[in-house]
Symmetry: C2
Amino acid sequence: MPLSSLPAVGVDLGGTNTKAALVDAESGVLFSRSAPTRAELGPDVVLDDIAELVRALMLDAGIEAVQGIGVGAPGAIDWERTTITQPPNIPGWGKVNLRTALRERLELPELPVIVENDANVAGLGSAYFGAGKPHDSFIMVTLGTGVGGAIIYQNQIFRGATGAAGELGHMTIDYEGPMPRSGVAGAIEGYIGQRLLSRYARYRLIHEDTLLHGMLGDDLEGLTPLHLFQAAEKGDEGAIEVLAWAGHKLGCVLGSAVNLLDIRTIIVGGGVSGAGPLLLDATRRTLPRYVVPALRGNLLVIRETLGNEVGTLGAAQLILQPLAERDS
Amino acid sequence: MPLSSLPAVGVDLGGTNTKAALVDAESGVLFSRSAPTRAELGPDVVLDDIAELVRALMLDAGIEAVQGIGVGAPGAIDWERTTITQPPNIPGWGKVNLRTALRERLELPELPVIVENDANVAGLGSAYFGAGKPHDSFIMVTLGTGVGGAIIYQNQIFRGATGAAGELGHMTIDYEGPMPRSGVAGAIEGYIGQRLLSRYARYRLIHEDTLLHGMLGDDLEGLTPLHLFQAAEKGDEGAIEVLAWAGHKLGCVLGSAVNLLDIRTIIVGGGVSGAGPLLLDATRRTLPRYVVPALRGNLLVIRETLGNEVGTLGAAQLILQPLAERDS
């Protein structure tokens, strides 16, 4: 069997869980597995666990070889796409060469292993298996704990000078705006990142008549975006307004991205995107107002509905794409 | 003589003047010529004039063939890079296929002719002949009547989905900021485009003790950025403050561009950039504050000192670069 017809393994290395899937270019996910990321035990244990997931998937499928392993990981990835440096949410990691580590553990010294930033990997997953399939180029936004992003240009990840392109969450929409942890005033993450959106919603609604009081008590302690969706779906006006407020802010920053990139298809994924039209209709209304008139045609904001799978699929796609593209 | 060793013609089609140069990849500009753009007489006359400039340059050099003609033009260029549509500053043009028109006029039906957006062309000129030479990737900002931009990525123009990428001037730095003609609230052009910067400076300084009163009279009518530089160079505090204010705003928008692109070299050209450190020192101070901490290393803001020549050189470079890249 030629190597290129074998399935590939995609690994989504998260701070809490590590997901892995055996993926075929045609059929998508064949088998998938997941295990807690035992970050507190150090890199060696985490790497052992990843190797174990790969072996288990090969057993699941009854195969003895894979085309390679793609890994989506948080934080900075080197230009050669082998090594991650101090991933956030995985404390105690300095610099770890995942290619070398996985080849050693699997005793496959030639195995293709490619590591890529997790936001970029989600973009690639969308491009080949999700909402991005019909589009050569798009901007991917991931609304989760933070606001992540990726640029897919002509079906490839646009990596920038060091592989970190797509940091949409840190683009400012108000140079004198609120200051999030990153220290970038008015960065969009400071409005619609999960923590700050939750805080905004709490303080905005705490004195209002809202269903959220019934769900969370008087002081709305513990409010999350999920509570907002639930209340909004029951028609709660305050929750609906906050989600539209967030969608409006997202439209502002996406306008700047469209102006700079001339890429007019936006794909929105991540947990907070689950709010769907409650959030994205406002984004669609706002976006053209922040785009130069000549580029206002054909703007498209769509949701990625693949969910978590987008990460393992995209990671596998790092391996599955033709060699010429893979090494570009 | 092989075609690839011939010089190329670069044409910079402006609203006021059309500049053309015969350019050699090694030596740069061999001969250059310029003529008023007789836009009011319609496209046919302008195209005749361009063809005449090309013929004159060939006579200057005593050659009977060129490798091709590259044209930098304002406005929207089609994806195939042959045709411009309704260029601003050249009223009455609908859609003009420059490739066909110039081939006909020069009776050279096979002549390579490539048209590209003028901001992109300036970026290419800087990349191959100017301040961009040592850098594979950079963001070019052109501070003139408007605020233009281009993205040079791995020595190529990043064109986006339709060739219009780089519209940095329309990126917002304040989603509720001042409204320029484009209708994008808080767009950087609304702060530091020539007209609005001049107006800001006038109203900010009109009631202050400034050298500008001696240059322009009590009401500072007719103030331009050039007056600001002249006064600032003589130590005028008000003018110095306004230029630093403009540089600060530029730093805010460049931060967003760096976050999105992970390209950390910025090259600033255009007339207003003539203010040099009076403007750009403030940009350098502000820029890192608007970039995510992980990308704050190696930020570089430099001036393009080639001046107008960057346009004709970049246009010629459209032809001079290797075929594989030219067609990408």
